[in-house]
Symmetry: C2
Subunit: 283 residues, 2 copies
């Protein structure tokens, strides 16, 4: 199995973060556009784990073997836990009294900032694993970069999450190799899953104005800065899995800005129904 | 194709209705248990068409050929229209100011009174048609009996709905025969669909105290009274379709009393999300 990413790539964000080292920036106390950028950046992190966590939880009770069922459920729980931290901080930054629960359960489709990748339907077990692998291979370098954030609150959450996500990546890498380099049937399914989801990976590396603001302040890395490492790691794993990397570089995008596929509405309906039907319900 | 049911079977309800002929009963003005029974009876009628209408609408844009797509969408629309009438009258009988929309969009699972049959997943096109056929073959005799209701409001709705449902039954009968007596593949699928859904048909013919109250007052027929005619019609169609009627008579039940399968919650989440998220929304 390829070794996990070592996160050694220096980039503009890292340099900026070094400059800011030693002080905990509270950018929401400064320029309004920086506060807006930070809120967006935190929603993007929290919505990715919220939606993927929900998707993966759909497997609960349906995985092919018990051990995988439990492993998938644990992965989902880790992501929901990370969501609480990211959205909790987002609500704090926003300063309008919205809790993590409010942000998770009371926003509509156009206010969600997750990657389109994570709202893709589960497909078969192999497709779910392939989506998880491609996400994890982006997620871990992202968290490692966030551990050097000039905002200490972000660095702390990233450190906690990175321990869980190291394990997610190790596991999804292992399964992609085993299923890709497995039987003819499993190989064919993994290749089909890869070809199917590939056009949804490009969005992970396309930044916008909010990203530029955050990178300048050393708060978050630019999406583009994570590409080289992701490419190298994914290529190495796919080679070992005897899978062919798709050639096209067309990227579906818009999720990070609130333009989603039809799937997200159905996810939100299931996910939010209880809080919508029984506002403020507690247990 | 077998001829459509002629609805000539006399039963206790029909006799009671004849006795009550000429006067429009308003049982909600009388005994509280009769008002409760009438409310339940109307929910049962309206919830069947609400949930089956929603299920069938899921096909919109996905049917195997355009003509079938349009036909299924029209069937769904007919049923939603009937729902408006039944639930509108239910709200009127209840006398608490709830509209048809309130009853459709703001009740939770345990307050729904539909047959378990109509909340079954769509399966393939053949399974959807088989479910529709078995329902239509019950629905038309039910409506014909309701046309003789001692409550003129019910008789009026039933007369309107029966015209639509005559066509639904003609169409689903035709397709069950064509697919059952079709290719080996289509025959096998229709037989599998029939075997799968059969245990959900028995509930259509199992009455309770509310049904007995309503039948005594000549308002609605007993569920049991519709069985002979349904059996004869279904048997004739299945014979022509070269399909084998399943032998077991085990019946899943509880839907008419509010005990549902896991599927209903997901249907309600999708169906009710908008009204729950945007209370009182109008367009």
């Amino acid at each position: 199995m390829p070794s996990l990413p070592d996160m050694a790539t220096p980039d503009a964000a890292a340099r900026a973060q070094e400059q800011a080292a030693g002080q905990t920036a509270r950018p929401e106390d400064t320029a309004p556009e920086m506060r807006a950028a930070l809120f967006e950046g935190l929603l993007r992190l929290g919505d990715n784990t919220l939606i993927l966590g929900h998707r993966v939880s759909e497997w609960c009770g349906h995985a092919p073997v018990l051990e995988e069922d439990i492993a998938l459920a644990n992965t989902a729980l880790d992501m929901i836990g990370q969501t609480q931290l990211w959205l909790g901080l987002a609500g704090e930054v926003e300063g309008q009294g919205r809790s993590a629960d409010d942000l998770a359960y009371l926003r509509d489709v156009w206010d969600m900032r997750n990657l389109l990748l994570v709202e893709r339907p589960n497909g078969d077990f192999g497709a779910t694993l392939m989506r998880q692998f491609l996400f994890d291979a982006w997620h871990l370098p992202m968290l490692k970069a966030l551990m050097r954030s000039s905002d200490q609150r972000i660095a702390d959450i990233a450190e906690k999450a990175s321990k869980e996500v190291s394990y997610h990546l190790e596991r999804s890498t292992d399964l992609v190799v085993r299923l890709g380099d497995g039987t003819r049937e499993s190989h064919a399914r993994m290749q089909a899953a890869l070809d199917d989801i590939w056009p949804y990976t490009g969005e992970m590396f396309i930044g916008d104005g909010h990203d530029a603001h955050l990178a300048e302040a050393g708060i978050m890395p630019t999406p583009e800065s994570l590409r080289t490492e992701w490419d190298a790691y994914v290529d190495a794993v796919l080679r070992e899995a005897t899978l062919k990397r798709p050639e096209g570089d067309f990227a579906h995008k818009g999720g990070r800005q609130g333009t989603h596929t039809e799937h997200l509405g159905f996810i939100l309906a299931e996910m939010q129904w209880l809080q919508r039907a029984y506002p403020g319900a507690k247990w």
